[in-house]
């Protein structure tokens, strides 16, 4: 991928990251913005649902276990309702078996502790799949 294509890909992708560990979410959002990604963070389901309506992401990075009644799967469902072409990756500390994610149609699972480089690779793969 050339730098120009890379920038074009980044420009068309709107990423929402949902994780209940607020300092981690803020750190990821800040660092990904530094690399030119259009990204928004949510620390709970309320913020996530608001972002789905207002920010209109086409890439979702979601921690499934949010320590509240609403799970990451519910946010995922709403995101796909609003935009069926949304690409999704699940962030998990291994609390939920990968089979559960597959059952919900999620093909990309990133296991914590996440290496930033791995996260970038995953995001770039999801951006590429937006084109296809």
């Amino acid at each position: 991928m050339t730098l120009l294509q890379d920038r074009k890909g980044k420009a068309m992708a709107k990423i929402l990251i949902v994780d209940d560990e607020v300092l981690i979410t803020n750190s990821l959002v800040g660092n990904l913005k530094m690399l030119g990604y259009d990204i928004c963070g949510a620390k709970n389901s309320k913020e996530a649902f608001e972002a789905l309506e207002n920010f209109r992401p086409n890439i979702l990075l979601i921690d499934i276990n949010l320590r509240e009644k609403v799970s990451g799967f519910d946010i995922l469902k709403k995101g796909l309702e609003l935009n069926p072409n949304t690409k999704v990756a699940v962030l998990t500390g291994g609390d939920y078996p990968i089979q559960d994610c597959l059952k919900h149609g999620i093909k990309t699972v990133i296991k914590k502790p996440i290496a930033f480089e791995k996260l970038i690779e995953t995001i770039n793969d999801l951006i590429k799949s937006l084109d296809s």
């Binding site: 560990e21 609390d95 502790p113």
Partner: protein
């Protein structure tokens, strides 16, 4: 304060703290190791913040480990937990030494060799990830055991 949490929740919280160490260290390693052109006068402040955040998450990891331990001590897995906790403690000790080494390097950054010194630090920062993954593997193995004992989703205070 007593809480009614499942062991799943305790381990979720513990993994999130380990994640804080991994994300902060690997982000710095990537942003400045892969893109040395990003290195400028503000990088030292960024490094200082990242080190503070890693230290904060290190402390939180210990707090969560202690709470997790207290919960498991009341379960049938308490005896097995002793060696698991020891293994996690060893990895955390290595992480502490790594943090100490990076702090030492950051205190010795030379004005004339600023870029090289930062690049050297990014290499050290890259080493945290492997240690965090080792902790995750130890926890994963033990979680399997808790699941097989049928107590992973039982409530402990």
């Amino acid at each position: 304060m007593p809480t009614n949490k499942t062991l799943r929740s305790y381990f979720h919280d513990l993994m999130n703290k380990i994640q804080g160490i991994a994300v902060n260290s690997s982000s710095f390693a990537y942003l400045y190791g892969h893109y040395p052109n990003n290195i400028d006068a503000s990088t030292k402040d960024k490094l200082s913040k990242v080190l503070k955040d890693i230290e904060l998450y290190y402390e939180k990891t210990f707090e969560n480990l202690s709470l997790t331990s207290r919960a498991i001590d009341q379960s049938v897995a308490s005896k097995e937990w002793v060696s698991v906790q020891k293994a996690i403690g060893k990895e955390l000790n290595d992480i502490y030494e790594l943090l100490d080494s990076v702090k030492d390097l950051s205190a010795k950054i030379r004005e004339a060799n600023f870029k090289d010194d930062i690049l050297n630090i990014t290499k050290e920062m890259g080493l945290f990830q492997e240690k965090c993954e080792s902790v995750a593997r130890i926890i994963d193995n033990f979680k399997e055991r808790l699941i097989s004992l049928g107590i992973y989703d039982s409530v402990h205070s």
